[in-house]
């Protein structure tokens, strides 16, 4: 059996078709585009003003300028990256188009690649204007982090994709009954990955859990950079190693859940 017959052939043409499909959808609906920008802006403004208030009343926070805004912007990369992936997938279920897609020659890896591309597209539409607003309102320029930002971004987006892939598998297997997970699963990471506080704040036993999650390294690395002005490449490499494992595990789980969906007949019945 050759690569094509085994389903491991990869066609950029088919990935392009799916990206085109999601792009058509996105540009046809201004509420969808507004939704990408609205909540990150609200979050950034709230945490930015809180930081201003705290900085005026505490010396440490005055020195650690931008930590809260940096945290919320990086958190949004993680959260919105996963949401961008999952919402594009959910669009197929909402429009009852999934059987058309699964019956077409599109391979699972191509489908996932298209969802990853759309996750970055949706994230860019939402985050680029918000980072500009952060400069305008609070003088915090995320882009000035340069290469460090690239390392943070790569690690956060890899985690968001891994979670998105896992959620897509759950949706295939369990139908729309699993939809709420797509919206809420990432909030489990909010306290555990120490977005707004150092890992040392956690009880010791929970610190082990935190250090098993790749985003923890990113948020710790960001604080080191903004407070001590040191870029911790070691933390980024550790995060990347954990991400490789997480991504592989999520892809394996997706394929298993897809197989289970074929066995249970749930690709035809994508309702509740």
């Amino acid at each position: 059996m050759n690569a094509s017959d085994a389903g491991i052939e990869f066609s950029f043409n088919r990935v392009g078709a799916m990206v085109r499909r999601y792009w058509y959808l996105l540009r046809s609906s201004w509420p969808r585009i507004l939704d990408l920008i609205y909540w990150p802006t609200v979050q950034m403004l709230m945490w930015g003003f809180l930081q201003l208030y705290v900085a005026q009343n505490a010396g440490f926070f005055a020195r650690a300028g931008g930590v809260f805004i940096g945290s919320v912007l990086l958190w949004d990369i993680l959260f919105r990256g996963q949401l961008g992936f999952s919402i594009s997938f959910l669009e197929e279920m909402w429009s009852r188009n999934l059987a058309n897609i699964m019956m077409s020659p599109l391979r699972p890896a191509e489908f996932i690649s298209a969802l990853m591309i759309m996750s970055v597209v949706r994230l860019s539409i939402g985050m680029v204007p918000v980072t500009m607003l952060a400069v305008a309102f609070f003088g915090f320029n995320l882009w000035s982090l340069g290469l460090a930002l690239a390392a943070f971004f790569v690690n956060l987006i890899l985690t968001s994709w891994a979670i998105g892939i896992f959620v897509a598998g759950l949706l295939l297997r369990n139908g729309m009954g699993a939809e709420s997970l797509a919206w809420t699963i990432m909030f489990l990471f909010l306290p555990l990955t120490c977005v707004y506080y150092p890992v040392a704040v956690l009880p010791v036993w929970l610190q082990y859990v935190a250090w098993a999650l790749p985003p923890t390294y990113v948020f710790e690395g960001m604080r080191e950079l903004l407070i001590s002005h040191v870029f911790r490449a070691d933390l980024m490499l550790e995060a990347f190693a954990f991400n490789v494992v997480l991504f592989a595990a999520a892809s394996f789980a997706f394929l298993k859940l897809l197989q289970s969906a074929r066995e249970q007949g749930s690709l035809l019945q994508t309702g509740e």
Binding site: M1, E9, S95, R96, N97, A99, P105, R262
Partner: protein, 253 residues
């Protein structure tokens, strides 16, 4: 060459159990290349599950399906580009225009000249005037024609149709049937048509497989079925099978 290797679709002792209950219970049939076959049965007879297993969307519990020589679902990527399907229970994205939807699917199926193929189908299925209208703004009849266009984009050798004229008015349904007939004739395609509409099956199909509770109750040409049951219409035959009168008659004879 044996029957399996020459059949466009071969179904062998196919079983599908859901939580121990048989949706499809040991059915076998073969579809000759270029044939058009009706799959009849009431709700829950197993028609949709059978078609889903032929498409590779559902994995059989036991038995096997092969399409154009490829075992489904294991070898589905060998043949998915040579087959297609249409069902009123599957939609296309409503916010995309007809042209956008068709062009995305054409690219997925690797159609060579996408614009030309869409133009050809639009002319053939009378879609030209609403090619640039969102799918969600179409009537039920127009949506069915768009779904039919999607199913013909790649000029499939095997076409699976699940109630292609459900919820259509008689005029549109008749129009759709004539297009299906023309496609099958012009392309020598193998068509399997699941339907509740006996007139449709009588008009289109040269062979009818009647399913009940996951099993094949009868399998023959419409003319021979009518003769065997002593009926004038397939609807009467269908009712005989659904109500068990066929078996009673056989027992009496």
């Amino acid at each position: 060459m044996d029957a399996q290797s020459t059949a466009a679709v071969a179904v062998d002792h196919l079983v599908k159990l859901y939580k121990g209950v048989a949706a499809v219970d040991g059915i076998s049939f073969r579809l000759a290349p270029g044939s058009i076959t009706g799959l009849l049965g009431g709700n829950g007879a197993g028609k949709t599950t059978t078609i889903a297993m032929i498409m590779g969307l559902v994995m059989p519990t036991s038995g096997g399906v092969s399409v154009l020589g490829a075992h489904m679902p294991a070898e589905r990527y060998r043949v998915l580009h040579r087959m297609n399907f249409e069902s009123p229970y599957v939609d296309m994205p409503t916010r995309l225009t007809v042209r956008q939807n068709l062009s995305v699917f054409a690219q997925l199926y690797g159609v060579a000249d996408i614009d030309a193929r869409i133009g050809e189908l639009a002319a053939d299925l009378d879609l030209t005037e609403f090619l640039d209208r969102p799918n969600g703004k179409l009537s039920a009849g127009q949506k069915t024609r768009v779904s039919l266009a999607k199913s013909l984009l790649n000029k499939p050798e095997v076409l699976l149709l699940d109630e292609p004229t459900a919820s259509l008015d008689p005029d549109t349904a008749d129009w759709v049937r004539s297009r299906l007939e023309a496609y099958r004739r012009d392309n020598r395609a193998t068509v399997l048509l699941a339907s509740h509409n006996m007139n449709e099956v009588e008009r289109l199909c040269e062979r009818v497989i009647i399913m009940k509770r996951g099993r094949i109750e009868d399998d023959d040409t419409p003319a021979r079925l009518l003769a065997r049951y002593g009926r004038e219409t397939l609807e009467e035959v269908f009712l005989d099978v659904a109500r068990g009168r066929g078996k009673q008659r056989e027992a009496a004879q």
